[in-house]
């Protein structure tokens, strides 16, 4: 059969992280894939070597706009690991609150976009509306909807005021009923079942081989969550459940994220209600020579930072590894053999930044344009519509 090469990417206006995928298709079936990243390689590791330990926190907060707290969290823990030391109890709780608020808004953002790709724009609107409430809470707590600038080596920069806590709790409570409704609407929908079950399966063996992270691994039955395995922050003092499912398909990845949102809301509320009194900063004055590792569970999986100090006030080496770096290669294991109309949602299921989908263009070997990015989202949405018709759902 004639093979066609489908370039996906690299630029996309919706989110950060441009990536480039070269899909080889036979008819509608994907038979091979080549990935190229680095279109937005900003040299942050190199840049960080020129900043002081405190300044680096701000630079690396700008690595990602969605999970902007995960990088400073891992970095500050890496710097603290050089010594090694633990931060004050109240700082641990505040860090946990910020990290969980971020997880809730990140998962809701993902749910909305996944709904859009599947032609469920109502899900998209609802999820993003709920996300706004959480962003408001983050604004009350940190002064910003994103890029919270709360972290510093040794503690946090800003305390949470007692009078803000009831307002935040009220706002969080207000979204729970709608979240429950959204959960039911998504998980009980027969069309969504038909559209996502058995699609883009990442097996347990493949997940271990690729060392997949976060919801991508937990959906394949690999029970790995740093918040349970290597507790940090206040996670070991709070009662919450790790969500693990067995099938590894797109549906299970959605289930993990939706159920995790509820766990995160639970952690967020418990932390706000039980915020211990005390100092928020350990006042680190100097960092001794040595090396430290900090890793935390970001919404997409483990964020890993390695920092080496030579005794000066700047890191001698700073290595950053974001979760998508490990999750993206699993695309190779999940997309091959699937149809082109499922390629968008399989990629979306690992929750990368969606740069690829919108700027996709399908060309044949002579360079003639066959489909644009909108056409591929349309292909995906039409498949849902077709399924609805076949199943007699309106």
């Amino acid at each position: 059969m004639k093979r066609t090469v489908v370039p996906l990417g690299p630029y996309h206006p919706l989110q950060e992280e441009p990536e480039f995928f070269m899909l080889t298709v036979e008819g509608e079936t994907v038979v091979d894939i080549d990935v190229r990243v680095g279109y937005n390689h900003r040299g942050i590791e190199k840049l960080s070597e020129r900043k002081t330990f405190d300044q680096s926190t701000f630079v690396i907060e700008r690595i990602c706009g969605i999970c902007s707290t995960s990088h400073p969290f891992a970095y500050t823990r890496a710097v603290e690991d050089i010594i090694p030391m633990e931060v004050p109890e109240r700082a641990k709780y505040i860090r946990t609150i910020i990290a969980e608020g971020e997880r809730v808004h990140s998962h809701l953002l993902w749910l909305g976009l996944a709904g859009h790709f599947l032609g469920y724009n109502t899900v998209y609107m609802w999820a993003w509306k709920l996300r706004e409430e959480i962003l408001d809470v983050m604004e009350i707590l940190s002064g910003n909807r994103n890029n919270y600038a709360m972290f510093k080596p040794g503690g946090v920069r800003r305390d949470i005021k007692a009078e803000d806590i009831p307002i935040c709790l009220k706002k969080i409570d207000s979204i729970i009923p709608t979240c429950v409704m959204l959960k039911k609407a998504v998980l009980d929908d027969p069309v969504l079942h038909a559209r996502t079950k058995g699609v883009g399966v990442l097996t347990k063996e493949a997940s271990i081989n690729y060392s997949a992270l976060g919801p991508t691994s937990r959906a394949s039955g690999v029970a790995r969550d740093l918040r349970k395995d290597c507790p940090y922050g206040a996670y070991d003092q709070i009662d919450w459940d790790m969500i693990v499912t067995e099938n590894g398909d797109v549906f299970d990845k959605a289930v993990v994220r939706i159920l995790e949102t509820f766990e995160s809301i639970k952690i967020l509320k418990t932390c706000l209600q039980n915020l211990p009194p005390g100092e928020i900063d350990a006042d680190l004055t100097s960092i001794p020579p040595g090396e430290g590792i900090g890793h935390i569970e970001a919404p997409r999986g483990e964020t890993f930072h390695y920092v080496r100090s030579d005794g000066t006030n700047r890191p001698a080496r700073h290595k950053v590894r974001a979760p998508t770096f490990m999750n993206l290669p699993t695309y190779k294991a999940t997309v091959i053999g699937e149809s082109l109309s499922d390629a968008t949602i399989i990629l979306a299921a690992i929750d990368p930044c969606y740069c690829c989908t919108e700027r996709m263009a399908v060309r044949n070997t002579k360079g003639k344009r066959l489909y644009s990015g909108e056409d591929l989202v349309r292909l995906s949405q039409e498949k849902t519509a077709r399924l609805k018709k076949e199943m007699g759902v309106k």
Binding site: A206, K319, M326
Partner: protein, 157 residues
Amino acid sequence: MTREEVLKDIQTKFGEVIIEVFDKSPKRAYIEIKPTAIVPVAKYIFRDLGARFNIASGVDAGTHIEILYHLTIESINLLISLRVKLDRENPAIDSLATSFEAANWIEREMHELLGIEFKGHPDMRRLLLSDQWPEGVYPLRQDYEEWDETAIRDRGV
């Protein structure tokens, strides 16, 4: 196995290739090994001890190039960092990508940014740097110098 048993197990199995063990804290252990032994040691920790491969980090230490392979054994909350030191003039080591897929991308990254050769890597195509980037220029080396006169990124701040 407990944490102490795991560390002891590695030391008895690979005693002759281990140069130094630094037991830093309850959650961290650094083990320096001979570069020639990286594949059997890393494979043993990954497959037999059930570790997850976090990532590797390459460092240009001036006199030599260092690679740390980070592996986490979640059941005992221990992060093992395998350290190898390579000759700076001609850094080369066996590839782990054939043992487990997780090492594939990071070896490509270290090859581009630090100029380390990974012997037997299945796919050494360029991953991060732009197509215009010249061969043999490695941005994370300490003696890296700006090569692109039109670039403003490295004028120093």
